[in-house]
């Protein structure tokens, strides 16, 4: 038997982040609380280093390694870079918040980095095994992060729910995968694709497996009716954790959806298109409708996330390259909008006070016009009002629907987007037209102030480069 050493060059960023996570874990043991900032800096530095490694290896060529289990292509590079950026900002945003609540511990960053490795593996998976490995690594990290605030009843309850439901969803996904394996005889996505092409769409077991796979993926994204965990977890977890869950993992979830449905099962698109239509319409509808009735802004944003995931599915279900790239663009835009939105909640919170109710935003304009304006940009972008990038994201998705003749679906999407605009605009109304309930000044660290301003303004100022970003998304999809 010959042992051939695999080409490890495409995996270097993963190896780097993993080793650094282990290093921080050990180093943190020897740090006293005063020097905890070192762990933070190491974690942040790790992400910068990983970004450097990914960038330096960013070729147009698609490279497989570890016996075709791992792939390095444009899509994975783009998504990884976005994930580094998101996690980086998440760490910076949550620094003061976690310090104020005694959560500023090495484990937080270590687990965050493990989750990042999980996401990186998911993004680059070209084999059901690696895909599942990454997924579980991420999921376990997330369960732990939610439970991190262990003396909080809501946090532990949320973690329990998340864990139980997540385990169930993983089970379904695994079951679906086993069906695929049973029919095609392979776990390698490329091989599955070839076999599916031979078998055709009428294979009962294949469709049976597909349903389970779609259900598992829908749970990870939080699409209705597999969304029930989302509001409870977003609400129950510490806001810094919510920030983490609501941003980068969505990109990873999008990646496995693309890898599985398009990379492996595109020939079944006629079947999964109908499934996704059901999920998407339910998500946009239920998400937007229930969000209106929320008084807690974290819950409101949770339902808003569900609605956004519905939009994401709309892009994918058009089953055209344009649709996929518009969905990719939507996912990226969503992640950065959500980053800003939860970042805002973190910024308004202070020691012993959670700014998690809508009323906490009342009269923000009088307390701090600059922050009110940042929030205004974020809300406009989430509602999809031009000239923010959120508008172009929705526009692209709806355009791709119309291109394939699903006009009724486009109309439904626009109608619910209009209904959804209500709760985003309500926040603006509260900020600008109501009187504040407190006159406590908004205090935040300088790094966070700057980053959040950049975060929000980028949603408008990115306009001149919009074309090249959309182009990048196209290339990423074309390179699949």
């Amino acid at each position: 038997m010959n042992f051939v050493a695999p080409d490890i060059s495409p995996v270097i960023p993963e190896i780097f982040v993993l080793s650094m996570a282990c290093l921080i874990l050990v180093a943190d043991l020897y740090l006293s609380d005063r020097f905890r900032i070192v762990s933070f800096l190491l974690a942040v530095g790790t992400l910068l280093g990983a970004a450097f490694l990914t960038l330096s290896d960013m070729g147009a060529e698609r490279v497989y390694t570890f016996s075709n289990m791992f792939v390095d292509d444009t899509l994975s590079d783009v998504l990884k870079l976005a994930i580094y950026a998101l996690v980086f900002v998440v760490f910076v945003y949550s620094r003061r918040y976690t310090q104020d609540r005694g959560l500023f511990r090495g484990e937080y960053f270590v687990i965050g980095l493990f989750g990042t490795v999980g996401m990186m593996v998911m993004v680059s998976a070209s084999h059901l095994l690696t895909l599942y490995l990454g997924l579980e690594l991420l999921a376990l990290s997330l369960y732990t992060m939610v439970a991190f605030q262990r003396d909080s009843a809501t946090a532990t309850e949320a973690a329990m729910k998340y864990f139980v439901l997540g385990a169930m969803a993983s089970g379904m996904l695994l079951y679906g995968m086993s069906m695929l394996y049973g029919v095609t005889g392979s776990l390698e996505i490329a091989v599955i694709k070839a076999r599916v092409a031979e078998l055709g769409v009428d294979n009962l077991i294949l469709v049976f497996g597909l349903v389970f796979v779609v259900v598992g993926l829908a749970f990870k994204l939080g699409a209705v009716p597999f969304h029930m965990w989302v509001p409870d977890v977003y609400h129950g977890a510490a806001t810094s954790t919510t920030l983490y869950i609501s941003t980068a993992p969505k990109l990873a979830g999008f990646a496995i959806l693309i890898r599985l449905l398009i990379g492996g099962l595109e020939d079944l698109s006629a079947v999964w298109q109908d499934m996704l239509i059901i999920l998407a319409v339910l998500s946009i509808g239920i998400g937007n409708l229930i969000a209106i009735a929320q008084t807690n802004i974290k819950r409101m944003l949770a339902y808003s996330t569900i609605a956004h995931m519905g939009f994401l599915l709309l892009g994918i279900l058009s089953a055209t390259p344009n649709g996929y790239s518009s969905a990719l663009f939507y996912a990226l835009v969503y992640a950065f909008m959500s980053l800003g939105g939860f970042g805002m909640i973190l910024m308004l919170s202070r020691k012993g006070f959670e700014a998690e109710n809508l009323d906490d935003f009342k009269g923000l304009n009088q307390r701090s016009p600059w922050h009110a304006f940042l929030m205004l940009i974020l809300m406009f972008s989430m509602a999809g009002i031009p000239p923010t990038v959120g508008f172009y994201a929705k526009f692209g998705v709806i355009q791709s629907l119309i291109d394939v003749g699903l006009v009724w679906l486009a109309v439904v999407a626009v109608l619910f987007a209009v209904i959804g605009a209500f709760y985003y605009l309500r926040i603006i109304k509260l900020m600008y037209f109501d009187d504040p309930e407190t006159d406590a000044p908004v205090q935040a660290t300088v790094d966070m102030q700057v980053l959040l301003s950049v975060n929000a303004w980028a949603l408008i100022l990115v306009m001149p480069w919009l074309g090249s970003i959309i182009d990048l998304c196209r290339r990423a999809i074309a390179g699949l």
Binding site: M160, K161, V164, L165, M168, A169, M172, V201, D202, L204, V207, F208, V211, F212, V214, V215, F219, P225, F226, M228, W229, P231, D232, V271, D274, M275, I278, I286, L289, I290, A291, I292, A293, Q294, I419, F422
Partner: protein, 660 residues
């Protein structure tokens, strides 16, 4: 390649725009003296350049081209272009010269006003807009200039925005002009629809080929396209040039400062409609119906408004109604195809009417902003310069040779006399009667203000003095053209070939040539001489003299008679005093009616149906649904798991049998 002349064309409007912007935005910083220095320098430069352009055009210069394309939509370019020919060059000179006089005058008149810099900014901006209007080579830019002069006009009518009457007049001018502008815009739209271009020369070149096209606006009624276009465009002119029944805004516009009344509401902006029709002569010539409409409207305005001027006691209102009447004369000339006579009268009127307004302003300053002529009298002893120049202006207005108004007005009367259109008979009577009335009210004003015994109170009388140099100098400068340009320019402008190709007249409509021929044949005198001679014979000149004599008799010799006449003929007086009830009618029917209809629509349509049912109704349904379905989120993990299982089974059952 930009030639030197092209640089001049571009520099002319810009030399007004740039000072306007500087004065408007930085006036507070650069101070009063600096503000009037730069704006006056800008307008003086523009006048100089306009004279250069006129000179160049006179020696054969011509330009028609695009300067800048500012947008493009559906393959249609939006252009800024200039058409520089004799017509536009003459208009530019009139506009910039009068504007220059008004700028200088303003230094004295607005001396104590807190809005000094703002005022200068507006009038410079106005001059820019007016230049853009007259220099345009396409309908779009014409419309831009049209609206821009309108905008500045509204701003200036409401210049003293803390006066309720000024705000009312401002709103009225705005609303009435909306009516006219709607017609104008529809006219432009019709041109674009049928000609496919908005460029003057392209439209005029193909106009003759569209003569037989008809359009059906009301089903079953076929209307000639060109008639529709011309009448729509003329509705625009009626709004801007204040023709009956859209004239109601102009008397009220006197709420603005007097220099504005002189510049915008007498000399330049209100003549934009006249200019526009003259510019569109290749279109109007092809529609006799439109020409008849123009003539009827013009003669009605000329006669009715002159009658109203007789009973006015506010010095500025007399001049305002006189302006309306004179605009009517110009419109009549347009209807008779005597375009060059209309433009000639426009030019002479611009100078003598600006002169009269500024003289009235000078009187108002002396009287401490008292405008009622019944409280004036005998001012000639204290204000010699104002008096002399006012006499020049009044003689020009009354049409006494050799003052400029005589030549231009008589040319119009003769042209109407020679016209073969059906409306010409009525128009001839109206304009001839108008001569008598014009002379009467012009000298009524002069006599009531400057002659007789002083009727003001002691305090005012003691302070009456001649206005400062900045006020009297423009009066004198304006008196010169009021006196002179008529005799000098009549022959080339009206009977000669001054306007060349700028104005197009069909041979069968060419009344001016007819008039010219009839003079040349009869006497051995030159054309100018025989023109004056003719006026003496059966002529309108005697009517003017009679008007002056009557005014003298009634207001100097027997001042008690007017009161008697007023008593005896009270109903006529009331009609005139109420200005035929146009204002009441508009107020009652349009203003009240629109408000009633609006109220009904608001309460029934908007509040109940749209707001109540559609908007709030759907919002209520959404929030209800939202409140109900949020209870699905129970918080129990087994409910959640159950929902997932249900979802899974639904998907399974839904897809498996179908694919079986």
């Amino acid at each position: 390649m930009i030639t030197n002349m092209q640089m001049v064309y571009i520099a002319t409007p810009l030399s007004c725009l740039i000072p306007a912007i500087v004065a408007g935005l930085f006036g507070w910083k650069i101070g009063r003296a600096m503000t009037h220095t730069i704006t006056i320098a800008g307008v003086a430069l523009a006048s100089l350049l306009s004279l250069i352009i006129l000179n160049d055009v006179y020696s054969g210069g011509f330009f028609n081209g695009v300067v800048y394309v500012w947008g493009s939509s559906g393959g249609f370019p939006f252009e800024i272009g200039f058409l520089i020919d004799k017509l536009s060059a003459m208009m530019m000179v009139v506009v910039t010269l009068v504007s220059l006089m008004v700028h200088i005058y303003t230094i004295g008149y607005m001396h104590d006003d807190p809005g000094y810099q703002r005022f200068f900014s507006y009038i410079s901006l106005f001059t820019f807009a007016m230049l853009m209007l007259v220099m345009s080579n396409n309908f779009l830019q014409l419309f831009f200039g049209w609206e821009a002069v309108g905008l500045v006009s509204y701003l200036l009518i409401g210049f003293w925005y803390d006066r309720e009457t000024a705000i009312f007049a401002n709103l009225k001018a705005f609303l009435v002009n909306r009516v006219g502008d709607l017609g104008f815009l529809l006219g432009i739209a019709a041109v674009f629809m049928y000609f496919g271009t908005l460029d003057y020369s392209a439209v005029f070149a193909t106009a003759a080929s569209k003569q037989n096209i008809t359009m059906e606006i009301i089903p079953g009624q076929e209307w000639a396209l060109l008639t529709v276009i011309c009448i729509l465009l003329f509705i625009g002119a009626m709004g801007k040039s204040a023709q009956v029944p859209l004239h109601v805004w102009l008397p009220d516009s006197m709420e603005g400062p007097t220099p504005i009344s002189a510049l915008i509401h007498a000399a330049t902006m209100v003549t934009a409609g006249i200019f526009m029709v003259a510019r569109m002569s290749p279109l109007f010539e092809l529609s006799e119906t439109a020409l008849n409409v123009v003539m009827v409207i013009g003669s009605l305005t000329a006669l009715l408004m002159a009658l109203v001027a007789i009973v006015q006691n506010d010095i500025k209102r007399v001049v305002a109604y006189s302006t309306l009447s004179q605009l009517g004369y110009m419109t009549v000339a347009l209807g008779a195809s005597a375009y060059s006579a209309a433009i000639f009268h426009l030019g002479t009127h611009a100078f003598f009417k600006a002169l009269l307004f500024l003289a009235a302003g000078s009187v108002i300053i002396a009287m401490h902003h008292e405008q009622d002529m019944r409280k004036m009298g005998g001012l000639k002893n204290w204000m010699p310069w104002t008096y002399i120049t006012a006499v020049v202006g009044s003689l020009a207005l009354a049409g006494i040779p050799p003052f400029s108004g005589f030549f231009s007005k008589d040319a119009i009367i003769e042209a109407v006399h020679a016209s073969q259109l059906p409306a010409a008979g009525f128009a001839y009577i109206a304009v001839t009667a108008g001569v008598f009335i014009t002379a009467f009210y012009a000298f009524r004003l002069l006599f009531m203000t400057f002659h007789g015994k002083p009727r003001m109170d002691e305090h005012t009388l003691r302070h009456v003095k001649e206005s400062p140099m900045t006020v009297t100098l423009p009066l004198m400068l304006l008196a010169i053209p009021s006196l002179g340009i008529g005799a000098i320019y009549m022959e080339p402008m009206i009977f000669g070939d001054f306007f060349g190709n700028s104005i197009f007249v069909l041979p069968e409509h060419n009344v001016l040539e007819l008039v010219g021929q009839s003079f040349e044949g009869k006497t051995g005198l030159s054309l100018l001489g025989s023109f004056i001679y003719h006026a003496l014979h059966p002529g309108p000149l005697w009517l003017a003299v009679a008007g002056i004599v009557l005014a003298w008799f009634l207001y100097i010799e027997r001042p008690e008679i007017p009161a008697l006449i007023k008593q005896r003929l009270e109903w006529i007086y009331n009609i005139l005093d109420k200005k035929y009830g146009f204002d009441e009618f508009n107020q009652f029917v349009f203003a009240q009616g629109a408000r009633k209809v609006g109220n009904q629509l608001w309460q029934k349509g908007e509040v109940k149906v749209i707001d109540g049912f559609f908007v709030n109704g759907s919002a209520r349904v959404v929030s209800l649904v939202s409140k109900v379905i949020r209870h699905v989120q129970s918080g129990y993990v087994y409910h959640y798991a159950f929902a997932m299982i249900i979802g899974l089974f639904l998907l399974l059952t839904f897809f498996l049998p179908v694919k079986q």
